[in-house]
């Protein structure tokens, strides 16, 4: 890359961002902590294209012809599986990391569109339960706020082993966000820099996990589905072990998945891209004869209806969004540009969720900032966004001749790059070549 002043050339290895990070490290002596997900470029859904119908395939009319979007999750063992109108769910985000109004807005928007929201590492709030018609209750290593009453109020239980932004790491919630209410819900002193455990306290491997799942089913009388969420790493093996442990649903979160706070080095250097994880998960399920019996939810960097359709085509049953949902509420909105600049960031770049200074009033516990988010308006915006995603996904599915989003298949896809073809296990566009598989 060249500077605007000709003759000055930026190093590709020691680029401006790298120089700034070395300077920051030399000045502070500590790693950078931030929120958001991986920012590095990597093979993603933009590297896939759909093969619309033409002579050899028969399309559906793009506007009104039936293209169903519903999904049933958790019908392997649960007496009451979850039936969602759309296959886009809201991923787990804690009260504490987010304000109570933000959680309420997510519940309102998801409920309007007939889908589910998910609690996070801070327990279940009455506001969240009240505004979410379908609520998934996370069972995390920290067990903050865990109690059998909330467990029985949940529509599903998600056992969290990890998340894509930091597989192998626990949560962080720094002291500025540990208000009285957050501290009380987590049984912590006010103002501590809270470190969540990275491993569960009372089981240590997949054989134990099977017994833990049995206990949770016994406590809830086998009523609700049990999900297992993993950060994408050794996905093929993790999915097989999760199925063996008795999961109804498996959630795979790729490395683009967001977080409220962790080390930048963790976010950018641990895990695999969502695109690479899906085929591994689907292969594991298919080999066990469990594809579509144990449902697969995929998350990590999903932004639009094309991404949703591509996940479904690769074999997912549903997707989950986190960062995109917060952006729909107003995170990083240009109208707050001046305020972002005042705290050393800018609209479109803000990722210091852990500092609790979010100008949009979303990732904060500050009363004045929180009040900037109207939960009704936020809910409406999220519902609009979800609706747009579904319309887009339907547009693509109809073009491929599918009367249900679930009917999309890998055969509908080609890849734009060798890397994405190898990861997604679909042919490079214009060829029959899937790198890593024998030439047909």
């Amino acid at each position: 890359m060249t500077h605007k002043n000709p003759g000055l050339r930026e190093s590709a290895t020691f680029d401006i961002d790298t120089l700034a990070e070395i300077d920051r490290a030399a000045t502070t002596g500590i790693y950078d902590i931030r929120g958001f997900g991986a920012k590095r470029k990597m093979p993603h859904f933009d590297d896939l294209l759909f093969l619309g119908a033409s002579m050899s395939r028969y399309p559906l009319e793009g506007y009104r012809e039936k293209c169903a979007t519903d999904v049933v999750l958790g019908n392997r063992f649960a007496k009451k599986p979850i039936h969602l109108d759309i296959p886009v769910t809201i991923a787990g985000m804690s009260f504490g990391a987010l304000s109570a109004y933000a959680k309420e807005a997510l519940g309102r928007g998801a409920t309007q569109m007939g889908t589910s929201t998910t609690t996070g590492d801070g327990g279940m709030t009455p506001e969240e339960r009240g505004h979410s018609n379908k609520l998934v209750y996370q069972y995390l290593p920290s067990r903050y706020g865990m109690n059998p009453d909330d467990l029985r109020k949940a529509d599903a239980i998600e056992i969290v082993l990890g998340q894509g932004a930091k597989p192998g790491g626990g949560g962080m919630l720094l002291g500025q966000k540990i208000t009285d209410r957050v501290a009380q819900m987590r049984t912590l002193p006010k103002g501590v820099d809270q470190r969540s455990a990275c491993r569960h306290p009372d089981w240590t491997g997949p054989d134990d996990l099977a017994i833990k799942i049995h206990e949770l089913r016994e406590i809830t009388d086998w009523q609700v589905p049990i999900y297992i969420k993993v950060g994408a790493t050794r996905t093929y093996y993790d999915v097989k072990l999760a199925v063996k442990a008795g999961a109804d649903v498996i959630v795979v979160d790729g490395m683009q998945g967001g977080t409220a706070a962790t080390q930048d080095v963790f976010i950018e250097h641990v895990g695999i891209p969502t695109l690479a994880a899906i085929p591994q998960a689907v292969k594991a399920l298919q080999e066990m004869g469990m594809h579509r019996t144990v449902q697969l939810i995929v998350s990590g960097g999903i932004r639009n209806g094309a991404d949703v359709a591509k996940c479904m085509a690769l074999g997912a049953d549903a997707v989950a969004i986190g960062t995109a949902a917060l952006v729909a509420l107003g995170c990083n909105h240009p109208k707050w540009a001046e305020e972002y600049q005042r705290i050393g960031s800018d609209a479109g770049y803000y990722d210091d969720y852990h500092e609790g200074k979010c100008p949009a009033g979303i990732s904060t516990q500050d009363k004045d900032l929180m009040s900037r988010l109207d939960p009704e308006l936020g809910g409406r915006r999220l519902a609009n966004y979800l609706q747009c995603m579904i319309l887009e996904a339907q547009t693509i599915a109809r073009a491929c001749g599918k009367s249900h989003l679930h009917n999309l298949e890998p055969e509908d896809l080609v890849a734009l790059s060798v890397e994405s073809a190898a990861m997604a296990k679909v042919p490079l566009a214009g060829t029959d070549w899937i790198p890593g598989t024998p030439f047909q």
């Binding site: 049984t187 912590l188 002193p189 306290p201 009372d202 206990e215």
Partner: protein, 226 residues
């Protein structure tokens, strides 16, 4: 008293029968025969029941107990009384790892020894162990009390918050941020009361108290292990 024989009845049917008492309580006293190490026995109870398990229990016995009094007349596996909310769980024998993990209320009494990670992530319950506890007990424990009448293993109270720990015997080592503290009047009172509730005849003055130095509460790079 209602007697359930697990050689004839499944764990599911036992737990469902106990859970059904949540709506209308028709029988307070229950006896479970032939548990044979089954998992998840009497978990998720939400009623003032008395349950006597005659034999050994497997993992997560009395998990998330709320209000019930559960007695295991034998030993119990991993995670006994995990996340207990209230009530009492008493184990006549030994318990395995993670006894009372994340428990938020109530009293767990272990008349034998406890394995590793006893009281891990404890959030408000009281645990009294007549024997000894294994390594990493009270790891990241947040609130509540652990009383050990025997010895404690390696890394006691590592990364703990506001939990109170009393040990009568030796402590192999203390974990990060865990320090010995003065036994003041209120601690002797607290310990006496707990020993009494647990039915343990020990002198509180023979115990030492351990708690958090609170040096790790706020992130300081000088505390990182390099």
């Amino acid at each position: 008293m209602k007697t359930i024989d697990l050689s004839e009845t499944s764990t599911r049917d036992l737990n469902q029968a106990l859970h059904d008492q949540r709506g209308e309580c028709t029988e307070r006293n229950w006896e479970v025969l032939n548990p044979k190490g089954s998992h998840s026995l009497a978990c998720g109870l939400d009623q003032n029941l008395s349950v006597d398990i005659r034999g050994h229990a497997g993992y997560y016995c009395a998990g998330m107990n709320k209000g019930a009094e559960v007695t295991v007349h034998g030993s119990a596996g991993v995670g006994v009384a995990e996340n207990m909310m209230s009530g009492t769980v008493r184990v006549k024998g030994d318990v395995s790892q993670a006894a009372g993990a994340t428990a938020r209320g109530g009293l767990l009494v272990v008349e034998g020894n406890a394995g590793a990670r006893c009281g891990i992530s404890l959030k408000g319950a009281d645990i009294v162990v007549k024997g000894s506890v294994g390594h990493m007990s009270c790891f990241m424990a947040q609130a509540g009390t652990l009383v050990v009448c025997g010895d404690a293993g390696d890394a006691l109270g590592d990364s703990l918050y506001e939990v109170h720990i009393y040990v009568k015997g030796s402590v192999q080592s203390l974990g990060a941020d865990c320090v010995e503290k003065d036994m003041r009047e209120e601690h002797i009172r607290e310990l006496s009361d707990l020993l009494k509730r647990a039915g343990v005849d020990d002198d509180p003055l023979q115990f030492k108290r351990y708690g958090s130095a609170r040096k790790l509460y706020n992130f300081n790079i000088d505390n990182a292990v390099l």
